[in-house]
Structures are given as C-alpha cells and as structure tokens.
C-alpha cells in the first residue's frame, strides 16, 4: 500500500497549486466583498468606512500576507469564515455536501444500472436491430445538453402533472429517506441521462473488445453457457473503462452541478461556489474549490484502487 501513501503525498502538492491558483484568480476578478454587499451604494462609503469593511472582510492586507494567513489557518484545520454565511467555511461546505454527494451517487447508480445492462445487451447482439436501437439512443442521449433535459423535465412535470420536486432546501437522506430520494430523483435523472448514454456506449465497446478475447473462447470451449460467458467471464474484464468513465464523471459531479442545481433550485456545492464567487466570499471560494479538488483526487485514487480490485494484473502505481 505504499503506493497509496505515495499518491496521498502528492495531494498536498496539487492542492497547494489549486489553492494558489484560486487565491490569485478570485482576487484578480474585479469587485470585492464590499461591492458585492453594497452594489453601487458602495460609492457612498467614506474612506474610513471602506477600510473598516476591508478589515472586516480580511482583504486589507497585501495578497501574499492574506495567503500566508489563510495557509496557516489551513494547517490548523481552519478554512476561515464565510462572509455570506458568517460561519466557518468547512461547516458551510459540510452542510451542502450531503446533497451533492447523494445527487452524484444517485446519478451514478442510474447511469450504471441503465447503461451497463444496455451496453452488454447491445454488445451481445452486435449489429442486430436491438443493438442499433441502443446505439442510436445512446448517441442521442450523449448529445443532449443536461439543461435541456432538466428544463423539459420541470416543464413536463409542472404543466402536465401539476407537480415539481421539492425545491429550495434539501431533505437529508437520514431525516426522511423517501422524501430525500423523491426530491433528488429528477435532478439525478437529468444528470444521469447523458452519463447513462456514455456508460452504455463504453460498456458496449468494451464488451465487444472483450468478447473477442482468447479467454472468452476458452470459456466457450469448456462449455460455459452464453449467460455465463457474458456475465461471468467477459463483463468483469470489460468493467475497467466503465469504471474509468464513472470515476471521472463522478469526480466532476462531486464538484457540484451548477446548471442542474440552478434549474432545480437545489442548495448543492455547485451553487454554493457560484454564489460564493458572485458574492466575492473569498474564503468560501477558496475552501470550496480546495474541497472539490480534494474530492476529485480521492475519487481518482479510489478509481485506481478499483482497477486493482477488478483486474489482478494491474500492479498499482504502474500505469
């Protein structure tokens, strides 16, 4: 497992890069917390008032000093205080994260449970009509922007069924599992739509590759049934690209789905960071980006570990 340790040791380096990037970038954006709070009224402030506010928002020092202070805090597990929420950044993030995590997981479950069987089906009926239908659908699914899907879902639901999923706040899974899942199912479908299409296509082509492999022929020569050949012998070997794709997508989803959160009015990480940027909540932007980057790295590491679990040939650390 020294590989895991080795990978973990590169995390701080990457996160440091991410933090510097975000720290500088967010400060390069014109406008600051003061204009964000006061808008054009900020022009009415006297210099003294402005300085007081700058000190209050912690933006009165030179940028490197701000960075050092932030970094020192970081080492003590302190990501700073959000100016919008008046709470520690980490608290705010952790309040929003369950939604994003659940939404990402639900999308992935949808994508995998639809995509893998469809892909396998298509591959095992290569070039037959059912294969063609699946391929066309998957291609179309992949080509549909998710905001179009989301808008259509809301429109259809509200106009034809007089119903919309709960909006604005999130019911955590443990408070009320049913309500929680009911609330996220449509956003999850929205996100899972193109995702499922990609999974379908990837699993189809991976299955096709694998089905022509020698060991599949060996399994057949033993008299294994077609079902067993597909599910037991071929599929486990075809999963690597599916895992890669799912890992990458999941990693992105964990960063929050800005557009879908916007359309379905969900308080997730995506909107959190969007709001943080528009309201120039520097500490929150920094904290959230760092958190998202960290998740991304962890997911990638998990994907690598999953390879090892899936394919004993893969020696970890050698890619």
């Amino acid at each position: 497992m020294s590989y895991v340790v080795q990978r973990l040791l590169t995390f701080p380096l990457i996160l440091l890069g991410v933090s510097i990037l975000v720290f500088v970038a967010i400060r390069l954006v014109p406008g600051d917390a003061i204009t964000a709070m006061l808008g054009t009224e900020a022009g009415l402030l006297t210099p003294v008032q402005r300085e007081t506010l700058a000190a209050y928002f912690g933006i009165d020092q030179p940028i490197w000093a701000q960075y050092l202070r932030w970094l020192t805090g970081l080492f003590q597990g302190d990501l700073g205080i959000s100016s919008i929420y008046g709470k520690p950044v980490l608290t705010v993030i952790l309040e929003r994260f369950p939604l994003t995590l659940q939404l990402s997981l639900m999308s992935m479950v949808i994508a995998l449970s639809v995509g893998v069987p469809l892909g396998v089906l298509a591959a095992s009926r290569n070039e037959r009509p059912s294969d063609l239908v699946v391929r066309v659908l998957a291609m179309l699914g992949q080509s549909t922007p998710n905001f179009v899907v989301g808008i259509l879902i809301i429109y259809v639901l509200s106009v034809f069924f007089g119903f919309v999923p709960a909006m604005g706040t999130f019911t955590p899974l443990f408070t009320d599992p049913l309500a929680s899942i009911a609330q996220l199912i449509f956003p999850a479908i929205t996100l899972g739509f193109a995702f499922a299409a990609s999974v379908t296509r990837i699993s189809r082509s991976a299955m096709l590759d694998v089905l022509s492999d020698d060991y599949v022929r060996t399994a057949r020569s033993k008299g294994a049934s077609p079902m067993s050949v597909i599910w037991h012998h071929a599929l486990p070997n075809a999963l690597i690209p599916v895992v890669t794709l799912s890992g990458v997508e999941f990693g992105y989803l964990l960063g929050g789905a800005v557009i879908v959160e916007q359309i379905f009015a969900l308080p997730g990480l995506g909107r959190l960071v969007l709001d943080a940027i528009t309201q120039r909540d520097y500490a929150l932007v920094q904290g959230t980006v760092l958190f998202i980057a960290f998740n991304f790295l962890v997911v990638n590491l998990l994907v690598d570990l999953a390879y090892v679990a899936l394919d004993p040939r893969i020696r970890i650390g050698r890619r």
């Binding site: 954006v29 014109p30 406008g31 600051d32 204009t35 964000a36 709070m37 006061l38 808008g39 054009t40 009224e41 900020a42 022009g43 009415l44 402030l45 006297t46 003294v48 008032q49 402005r50 007081t52 506010l53 209050y56 919008i84 929420y85 008046g86 309040e95 808008i151 809301i154 429109y155 639901l157 509200s158 106009v159 007089g162 119903f163 919309v164 709960a166 909006m167 604005g168 706040t169 999130f170 916007q262 359309i263 379905f264 009015a265 308080p267 909107r271 959190l272 709001d275 528009t278 309201q279 120039r280």
Partner: protein, 479 residues
C-alpha cells in the same frame, strides 16, 4: 389567529446579510423590512406614515425634528422601544466604523436628544427636509441599544417588526414566524418560509404546482406569464427605480452637448419598453415619484425625432462614432435586451455601440470608477428627489465622479430643494431640475418598470408598494 397558515414564499435572490444599517441589496431590504422597523415608513402612495414613531414634527427652520415613539412598539424579545434605542441606533448608523452606506443621508444630524423614553429630538446642522423620507427606510432601522452594545446586530436580528427570523440558510431558505409582540396589530399568518429558487421559471413551476404560495419576481418576462396560469394572480405596481442609459460626459464625444441631445432625440423610449421589457414599463423623465414627476411630453425631445437627431449630430461636428456600452448580466434581467435595442436605435444616427456585458460586481466596479463610455443601468429611486439625485448631480455628491457632470444650475437647484419646506415650492424647484437634466442629457432616462409579486388564489390581502417592500404581507391571509 387559530388555524392560520404559514405562507410559502419564493424569490430568486436571497438577502445577503441581516444588519439593516449595512445592507443595501434589494432582497436584504425586503427581508429586513419584515423583521425591523424604522421610525416612519412609506405607504403605498409614498406618504410618510407612522412606524415606531406615532407622530413627528419639523421645527419651522427645518433644523429640528422631533419624534414621539408609539407606546405599543416592542422588540421581539418583549422589551419596549425607547428613545435610547433610537438614539443608539442612529449613533451607530453615523459611526464610520459601522460602514453604513446610508450614513451619507444623515450627515446633517448634529446631535440627538432624548428628553424622555418616548421622545427623540434630532438637531440638524442645516435645514434638511428630505431627511424625514430618508428615515423611512429600513436602513434607518431602530434596534435594541443592548444589542448594539453587545455587538450582536447582524447575527441575532432582534427587531420590532411583524416577524421574527427563526432561521436563515443563506441562498437556500429563511423561516420567519409571526412576532407576538409586534405593535402594529394582529397577523393573519403564523409565519413565512422563504425559499431561494434562483431560476424564475422554476419559481413559476413551483407556484403552478402549489408548492409556493407567494413569490417575488424580477423578470418582467416571467411576470407576464403569471396571469396566463389558472389559479395564479400577478400583483404589479409601478416602482421608483428607473432604467437609464448613462453617458459619460467627461469622455468625448459625449462631452458635446449636441451629441448627447442627438442621442436623446434618436431613441424611441416606448419601443425599448415594448421590445426589451415586453411592454412592461412607462416612459419616464428623471423624476419617477408621482408627487414630483411631470408629463414626459414636456421634456426635451422625449418623442423620437430622427430628423432632429441627425441635425443635431451634423451641428455637433461629430460624424458618427463608436463607443462601448456596459451592462450587467441579469441585473436587471432585461439589461441585455435594452442594450441591444439601444444599439439598433443609435445605429440610425451613425453611432456604433459595442455591448460589453459584465458580471454584476465587475460592472459595479467599473461603474463606481466611472470607467465607461455609456452604461445601461437601473438605478434606485427615492420618494424624494433630493436623496435620489444629490449623490449624482451636486458637486460634492458622493457619486459625482460616476455621473461626471458638474453643473452650477443643477447644484443650486438641489441646494434650494433641500432647504425648502413648502411642498408646492419643492415640486417647482425639482421640476426645473428635471427639465434641465433632460435638456442637458448627461444621461438618457428611459423608463420605470414594475415590481411584481405572484400569488396563488388562496392568498389574499397583499398590497404592493412602489418601494418594492413586502411589508404588505402583514395583511395577508392564506386559505
């Protein structure tokens, strides 16, 4: 009241903070107006009416203003509102360390006396009539002296308003409950839950699905959809805010009066309303408050007159030019459309506008720095012309560097208006001011819009107000 319901409300932009002295954002004010109270407030006709103060009086010279506090006025923790609270609140507002933007409206306050618990006397350094209207905003809210001392304003939100803030998850939801101690009377609802739904089409869907009872809408386009839905009602009221094309007269060729006038003549204000605002708006001059406004037809070149525009252009010696107009994305929602229609109209007299859309804060930054050729803006209105334009069109106005239009005549008219106590004379003064502005055309005033709320049929009793306040919710009941 037994069986009273809670009102489920939605809006697309959330409040940004809870300190009424500091907050200037539209949503923040709307939220805080339900929690705090100022001494006086404005009714739906923009008359000053009692809030914490039951009565008030200006001394003859307009240099002393005396309030009597309503004996019913209580904070949500049950404590009565006293003159000490008022004094402490205003002192906090005036303290530079508070960083209250509204402080600039109260600079004439020299001292505050509290002869007894129910009386507050403001001693002013100069005659300042508009200060009364300035006090009628939540930016001059009264808060408990104890809270100020403890430094918990902005976190605790203890006010004397009709509702108490139970919880607030920024950009997600706030929960308000009826304030039993409110001095203004009984409420017909138990409380309000406000959800933040950033997408106004989602708000509409939510209203349609019965998940939301009442909503605040920004986008005129969405608002126009409401009446088409069975079971939904739209409340619409003209507001004081105005849409304007700000020119920067410090930059050539906008420094040329004739060019500015040509532009004013070239635009068709009604067409802008029809096209960009889906017809939702009225042509307006600089003064948007009914008590002061004059018929726009009297103002300089308020009807599109392309021939005259071309003449003026020819006379100016400027043979067409190109300039950049800045506008904020989504703020107001119609800014982009407005800019595009303006672009098309001004092209007629050889002006080539390039539109530069900016994220709101970036726009504000550029705007505050006066760093633009032209700006599509929606500026806030006041019930009184003085606080509304003093900042732009007097020489020491805080935003004089944004308008870049120092003008002796405007300056002196402003000063006269501030000191004059006779309402009729004030109207006269400010109409002269308005005519001068329209004629000089440093900015091209276009239109005023509406404030919209949408509600389900089950909701009744709401009165909208031109200030945009939701204070009318105190009379609302839900079936």
């Amino acid at each position: 009241p037994a069986q009273a319901a809670e009102l489920r409300m939605a809006w697309s932009q959330d409040a940004t903070g809870l300190d009424p002295h500091k907050q200037t954002a539209f949503s923040s004010l709307r939220l805080l107006e339900l929690i705090y109270e100022p001494l006086v407030r404005l009714d739906a006709d923009l008359n000053v009416v009692p809030a914490i103060a039951s009565s008030w009086e200006f001394a003859e010279d307009a240099r002393t203003l005396t309030f009597t506090i309503d004996s019913n006025a209580k904070f949500s923790d049950g404590a009565a509102v006293t003159s000490a609270d008022v004094k402490a609140s205003f002192e906090r507002l005036l303290d530079e360390a508070t960083s209250a933007a509204a402080r600039s409206n109260f600079l004439s306050i020299e001292s505050i006396d509290t002869p007894d618990d129910a009386t507050v006397v403001f001693n002013l350094s100069i005659p300042d009539v508009p200060i009364l209207v300035a006090m009628a905003t939540i930016n001059a809210a009264v808060m408990p002296a104890a809270e100020i001392e403890a430094g918990t304003v902005g976190t605790e939100a203890i006010g004397s308003g009709p509702f108490v803030l139970e919880s607030w998850e920024p950009n997600a939801r706030e929960v308000l409950s009826a304030n039993e101690n409110w001095g203004g009377g009984e409420l017909a609802i138990d409380g309000i839950t406000i959800s933040v739904l950033p997408d106004e089409m989602a708000i509409l869907a939510s209203l349609r699905a019965g998940q939301t009872d009442f909503a605040l809408l920004n986008d005129p386009l969405v608002a126009t959809l409401v009446p088409m839905e069975a079971g939904l009602e739209l409340n619409r009221v003209g507001v004081l805010n105005y849409n304007v094309l700000q020119l920067n007269p410090s930059r050539p060729p906008m420094d040329n009066l004739l060019v500015r006038q040509a532009m004013s003549c070239a635009i068709d204000r009604q067409e802008i309303i029809d096209a960009a605002l889906a017809g939702e708006g009225k042509v307006t001059g600089p003064l948007t408050m009914p008590a002061f406004a004059q018929d726009p037809a009297n103002l300089f070149c308020y009807e599109q007159d392309l021939d005259r525009a071309k003449e003026l252009m020819a006379e100016s010696g400027v043979d067409g030019f190109s300039a950049t107009v800045i506008a904020a994305t989504g703020e107001p929602p119609v800014a982009a459309s407005e800019a595009q229609v303006l672009q098309a109209q001004l092209a007629e007299i050889g002006i080539d506008l390039e539109i530069e859309m900016m994220e709101l804060n970036v726009y504000v930054d550029a705007w505050l720095a006066g760093d633009f050729d032209m700006a599509v803006a929606q500026n806030g209105g006041r019930p009184d012309p003085y606080p509304m334009y003093n900042r732009y069109f007097t020489k020491e106005g805080n935003l004089a560097h944004v308008s870049n239009f120092p003008d002796d005549e405007l300056d002196s008219l402003m000063k006269q208006g501030q000191a004059e106590t006779d309402p009729a004379k004030r109207v006269e003064i400010f109409q002269a001011f308005e005519s001068r502005l329209a004629e000089q055309s440093p900015w091209l005033w276009l239109s005023t819009g509406y404030s919209y709320t949408a509600q389900r049929e089950s909701v009744s009793g709401f009165t909208p107000s031109p200030t945009g306040t939701l204070f009318g919710l105190v009379n609302v009941s839900v079936e």
